[in-house]
């Protein structure tokens, strides 16, 4: 196998890697700003300088020439080279800052240049704490500055678009943002304007950067030049927890990170998954985060008589449910599953019904034809349509569902997390005279109609799986505590600085931010207990998915471990889908 020598150590390589990417893949380090693995390589920041040389081969024999010590004779490039656009070739010798003083010096020199016109904003800059410029400067930069003349001034607080704000003075001209708009989202809305040290990115005059993917530029920007209009000044990143999850705003299942502080989700950023979303996600997927904080259903509710829901204790709600169930025949119960809920929740919902002799749940996909863009926004508005299909739920269109609901046979309706009134499948009237039991996360027009309303955990509060439009099953992790969970005890939960060192008595801890809700598996255990069914899962959703994988052929072999290791698992939707 061909090999390359980096700082005196040999590494084998395959294919035609670029040097910087190879160095990173090997877990080594080189400072850089402009390079991004999914975009063209402009090599404009000049930060990733290395010294490179090629072994000299004897023209006639094709053998490497050796010096008196038997070492290969190396012909060094006369100038330092940028590693990002440099092809790794067999026998290449590379010296990074680790082993070469000139390289170290060059990197320092370059940082000095970048910093001369960069404002000293770190204390008030949103990027601080996750800023490549800050980090590289700390690691490789000069100790002080020799710059004693005037900095260049440029526009600040420019509203580039509804979601992105530019501080041009902080920009280091890496062109990641303009390349993104040209090469990835293809909105072509950005350009660099002016010339020389007056350069900065902008839209055409009067145009707005309303690219549906605009916030990716905020992630890409290696400094705080581009910030999110929403997240700006909300939190220091080092005070937040970062938890992997799945975007539930549509059917693509973009891999994301959920950022919380004091149990509030404050922002969502994309997480790299080459099989799904690469490094990107649509802005809408980020904008849904208030759903996880606000308007949550906390504590169960019941309608005793008439119209008004009143809050109830869990015991009372479960007892009410038990009484209602005992008074009704299974044939009179209609169960409706949800493409908005996870595989585990739908599975348990169906299992529960099955144990009671209720027929297989129906479900109506939530698809808005024409709203997708062929990239990361899908027509499918729900994260788990394929998951519900693979569980064998009976797929109906809106009309069929309406008919089923209105049928006089259906006296009680069990509804899992699908706001059918809000999305226009049912009208409030369709439900009149029915006893509606609903399991849901957020208040809506639909939950208002529930005679019995059970609050359940949402995607950021539990580990659960979702099967995306391409048949890939991926899972979430609990990011936000409920009244009944505790990050210190749950090994799946991350613990940030504030969590670790905070106590209930610190003013940055607000207990109200914990919702009084239960995951479906815990809730089913309680309800099952009341009804004499054994539906307990000591191991939570992890145990549920194990059972799913054993019972449902479409899910065979699926485990959380595999999903974690393989960044999700592609299921065979072709042959398993009941109806598409």
């Amino acid at each position: 196998m061909p090999e390359v020598f980096i700082d005196g150590k040999s590494y084998e390589f395959e294919g035609q890697p670029k040097l910087l990417q190879f160095i990173m893949d090997e877990g080594l380090e080189l400072p850089f700003f402009c390079y991004h693995p999914s975009m063209s390589i402009p090599a404009n920041c000049r930060q990733c300088m290395v010294k490179v040389g090629q072994p000299v081969k004897d023209r006639d024999t094709g053998e490497y020439e050796l010096d008196e010590n038997g070492e290969r004779v190396i012909r060094w490039f006369p100038k330092l080279q940028t590693a990002c656009n440099f092809d790794v070739t067999d026998g290449l010798v590379v010296k990074t800052q680790e082993s070469d003083e000139l390289v170290e010096r060059a990197q320092k020199d370059n940082l000095e240049f970048i910093l001369i016109n960069h404002p000293l904003d770190c204390p008030i800059c949103d990027q601080a704490g996750e800023c490549p410029l800050q980090i590289q400067t700390y690691k490789y930069g000069p100790e002080g500055s020799r710059f004693e003349v005037k900095k260049v001034h440029k526009p600040k607080r420019v509203q580039l678009g509804p979601r992105v704000i530019l501080d041009a003075e902080r920009c280091i001209n890496c062109t990641r943002c303009t390349r993104f708009a040209d090469e990835i989202s293809k909105s072509y809305q950005l350009t660099i304007t002016k010339r020389g040290d007056k350069n900065y990115p902008t839209t055409a005059p009067g145009e707005t950067f309303d690219d549906p993917y605009s916030l990716n530029t905020v992630d890409l920007c290696p400094v705080g030049a581009l910030t999110s209009a929403d997240f700006r000044f909300r939190a220091r990143v080092w005070e937040m927890n970062q938890t992997p999850s799945i975007d539930v705003s549509n059917g693509k299942g973009c891999n994301i990170d959920i950022w919380t502080r004091d149990n509030q989700v404050l922002r969502i950023t994309p997480r790299h998954n080459p099989h799904v979303n690469d490094y990107w996600m649509p802005d809408v997927g980020r904008e849904i985060y208030p759903l996880f904080n606000d308007n949550r259903i906390s504590r169960p509710s019941v309608i005793l008589d008439g119209e008004n829901q009143i809050k109830s204790s869990w015991n009372n709600a479960i007892e009410t449910f038990g009484e209602q169930m005992e008074a009704i025949k299974p044939e009179e119960i209609l169960a409706i599953g949800s493409a908005h809920a996870s595989v585990e929740e739908n599975y348990l919902f169906a299992k529960f019904g099955n144990l009671l002799g209720i027929s297989t749940p129906l479900f109506t996909p939530h698809i808005e034809p024409g709203s997708g863009d062929g990239f990361l926004i899908t027509d499918d508005q729900a994260p788990n349509t394929n998951g519900v299909r693979l569980l064998g739920f009976e797929e109906t269109d809106s009309k069929q569902l309406k008919t089923a609901v209105k049928s006089s046979n259906a006296k009680m309706i069990l509804l899992l997390s699908d706001h059918l009134i809000d999305r226009g499948v049912l009208s409030a009237d369709d439900l009149s005279g029915k006893y509606l039991v609903m399991f849901a996360t957020n208040e809506s027009e639909t939950t208002k109609k529930a005679d019995l309303l059970f609050p359940i955990t949402c995607v950021v509060e539990h580990a659960a799986s979702y099967v995306n439009v391409d048949g890939r099953i991926q899972r979430s992790f609990p990011a936000k505590e409920t009244k009944y969970t505790n990050r210190r005890l749950d090994l799946e939960m991350t613990e940030g600085r504030l969590d670790r060192y905070g106590t209930k008595f610190d003013n940055w801890v607000t207990d109200e931010n914990k919702v009084d809700c239960l995951p479906v598996w815990d809730l089913m255990a309680l309800i099952g207990g009341r009804l004499g069914l054994d539906i307990t899962y000591e191991g939570g959703s992890r145990e549920v998915i194990k059972e799913v994988s054993q019972n449902m052929p479409a899910f065979s072999g699926v485990t959380y471990e595999r999903m974690d290791d393989e960044l999700g698992i592609e299921l065979d939707t072709e042959h398993q889908t009941v109806k598409s």
């Binding site: 402009p42 090599a43 016109n117 020799r146 003349v149 040290d197 350069n199």
Partner: protein, 427 residues
Amino acid sequence: MAADWRSFKPVLIPDIPNLDDIDVYIKNGGYEALKKVLSDDWTTKSVIEEVKAANIRGRGGAGFNAGLKWSFMPEPDGGPRYLACNGDESEPGTFKDRMLFEYNPHLFIEGSLIAAYAMQCSTIYVYIRGEYIDWIKMMDSALNQAYEKGFIGENILGSGFSVNFYTHPGAGAYICGEETSMLESLEGKRGYPRVKPPFPAQKGLWGRPTTINNIETLANVPLVINNGADWFKNIGAENHPGPILYGISGHVNQPGVYELPSGVPVLDLIDEVAGGVKNGKKLKAVIPGGSSTPVLRADQLDGVSMDSNSLREAGSMLGTAGLVVIDEDTDMIDLLWRIAHFYHHESCGQCTPCRDGTGWLEKILLKIKNGEGEVKDLDLLLDLTTQMEGRTICALADAAAWPVRHTINRFRDEFEARCKKSVHAIA
């Protein structure tokens, strides 16, 4: 040694009235070289070999053997291939290509056609700086004449070779003279130089093989075809042969463009050719080949001639052979600050050391010029030049760094005299 420059007769722009008229040009042997190479006696390879043997070194500043450059073009694959002629002419001190546009456009056109034939290019663009609007018009009418006569277009002179030839205007950007920036500008973009590799011969205009040559370089080609490589190699300096359009400006009595062999002694150029330093002043310094070439003090010029070896030995470069003559009353700090201002203004701003370095250089020089500099600033300037040189995408940063380094080093006393006494302890 070649004949004395004094007996040289101009060949690039001979003294023939109305040579820009195609009929006059043809009457004087014009387009014969094109006919020759299109005939069965020549092949594309033999044209390249002849031009390579002549060693026409690029007149755009870098001095690369034109024929050798042509030989880097890959084998034709049926797709488009391009010749891009560099008429950006923006390096301060340089004003010679416009002479060809104005006084002998067909020589340049003919040379380009021969080059295009040798490299099997399908289209030729001549990129001309936007300020030269009058010269663009001259070129357009010369091209029209050549189209009418069938020297450009489909099946030229029945040879089966076809090529189109267009002018493309710049719009005010020195950097577009850098060859890959020029390609970007030709593609209708901001003139950001490209990272190399890939080189233009592999991926040039629209990703296709492209060769870039300076106008004057190409104008030499018909001369080589007509008279042979040996004739050409015998003109002027051996290491950099051929006629040169010397642009002489600054403090001389007769500034302007002169055609002479390469290798004319610098002092002869000033005294004999350009009529000596103006107003009887003493010579202080010379910038031999455009603003980026290191300045030489008058006392460094003995025996130095205008060819690359001699100038390298003296500590400078031939560049574009645009000689700027500087008299004894000139303030070198002012001069250097203005050069630094130029490069700061013209940096495309793409890469860090140049974008931020050029501005820093200018600002420190301004401080020194205003009497507010300190000696340590001079050392900082020298440091910055090493931090910029060789670390950027294109050579503009080098071009900005060299004059700063060499002007300070060669006129250190003058610079120090302008500095305040340092308040910092000297380490």
